[in-house]
């Protein structure tokens, strides 16, 4: 593989990470602004009540989405906590997307050893999600 190809891969991945980071930042910020503006978490609690007695100690503040579908439903209803959670999900998805895109860039460069490596990493990520699901 030539240096120009490697530089192209670096540029593509750098932009991918930048877009992912900026998108999640914007969504999280929108959620925080809405939280401060409405004073409500969107899940039957005031923001102040959520933080009472020095912060969200166990049990004080535990109503928020814990799945992608709950987050999406909450965002449609403009619930502040759901919007923040959606931003966090975008952040979590970014490195996984980075691995998937690397498979494609190495493929475009016909660098088959690295296509194999990145595909293996993607496979391990899938396995870890399955293991996590089984452990629930």
């Amino acid at each position: 593989m030539r240096d120009a190809d490697l530089h192209r891969t670096e540029t593509v991945l750098s932009w991918l990470l930048r877009i992912g980071v900026l998108a999640s930042c914007a969504v999280i910020m929108a959620g925080l602004v809405l939280l401060l503006a409405t004073g409500q978490t969107g899940y039957g609690m005031s923001a102040r009540g959520c933080l009472q007695s020095g912060g969200p100690a166990a049990g004080a503040c535990d109503q928020y989405p814990t799945s992608v579908s709950d987050a999406v439903i909450g965002v449609r209803e403009l619930r502040p906590f759901a919007i923040i959670a959606a931003g966090l999900l975008l952040l979590i998805a970014t490195p996984i997307l980075r691995v998937a895109v690397s498979v494609l860039t190495f493929l475009a460069e016909r660098d088959y050893a690295y296509v194999g490596f990145t595909a293996f990493v993607l496979l391990m990520l899938c396995v870890s999600f399955l293991v996590g699901k089984a452990g629930e």
């Binding site: 490697l6 991945l13 750098s14 930042c25 906590f81 959670a85 979590i92 490195p95 050893a113």
Partner: protein
């Protein structure tokens, strides 16, 4: 709304510090985030660990975006070693509960102390002395170059020990899966000692890698409800701001200074692990 704003502000500012620190050294910043949230703000440990996972991903993506642009992260080495770290993380999940963790803490503490000593010996080194390419590293085109603003010149470097680094990274993955400790603290010394990469390349490549393993476990934490929006939200924003500052500073810092700070971090974490093995914990 003042108390809410105060809380968000404090979490944000602490996360900026964690982001600067993590992005400069190739660590996730959990070493700072967890004690601040639990001891400082009285937050439940599960929510603190959830926030730390988010912090690792934010540091990684934020820092790697800059380091890839400046050719500091070595994509090939990162991808190659990620095979071992992700496989290790999966194995760690299976091994959890089977292995005695007190014993593991002692082993881990010794490994870190050894790494600290090895890195201390080369504390004055700016760029590794020239050596021929390793066989695997050569076949996989792992050599690289970057412009170092601190030295005001382009640094070209060779790579060796790719075959040795693979099992080391596997162990790093297993340990971070088992003990839930940031794997950057093991990844950087492995790249530094076994592969003889320049310090800046080791930390930038570690930053590139840590997000992937953290993202793999983040799904579980999210489903379990450990990622609380009111904590993890400001943590993510703060860490990303910190990474913006940290990457800027790291490129201009001297490798020898980064190395010295890293040795101190290794020594502190090693001591922390030794204390944990005998049941003393400060988080």
């Amino acid at each position: 709304m003042a108390p809410v704003l105060d809380f968000l502000g404090v979490v944000f500012l602490c996360s900026v510090v964690a982001g600067i620190f993590g992005s400069m050294l190739g660590l996730g910043g959990g070493t700072i985030i967890v004690p601040v949230l639990t001891l400082g703000l009285g937050i439940d440990i599960h929510h603190a660990i959830g926030a730390a996972i988010v912090s690792v991903i934010a540091t990684s993506s934020g820092a790697a975006a800059a380091y890839l642009r400046d050719h500091l992260s070595n994509v090939r080495i990162g991808m190659f070693l990620e095979m071992a770290t992700t496989a290790g993380a999966v194995s760690g999940a299976f091994l959890a509960g089977i292995v005695n963790s007190a014993f593991l803490y002692v082993i881990f503490a010794l490994v870190l102390a050894y790494s600290a000593y090895m890195m201390y010996r080369r504390r004055a080194e700016e760029v590794p002395a020239h050596f021929p390419m390793g066989r695997w590293a050569k076949a996989l085109h792992m050599q690289g170059e970057y412009y170092d603003p601190a030295l005001e010149r382009t640094v070209t470097y060779n790579v060796k020990g790719a075959r040795v680094a693979l099992p080391l990274m596997y162990v790093a993955g297993v340990v971070s899966g088992l003990l839930g400790i940031g794997s950057g603290v093991l990844k950087v010394p492995a790249m530094d000692i076994a592969m003889r990469l320049p310090m800046k390349v080791s930390t930038a490549t570690s930053n590139f890698m840590i997000g992937v393993t953290a993202a793999a476990s983040a799904g579980v934490y999210f489903a379990r409800g450990d990622i609380n929006p009111v904590i993890a939200g400001p943590v993510a924003l703060g860490v990303l701001c910190g990474a913006l500052i940290g990457t800027h500073w790291m490129m201009r810092a001297r490798s020898s200074s980064l190395r010295k700070v890293f040795v101190i971090v290794l020594a502190v974490v090693s001591l922390q692990m030794l204390l944990k093995s005998v049941g003393v914990s400060w988080r």
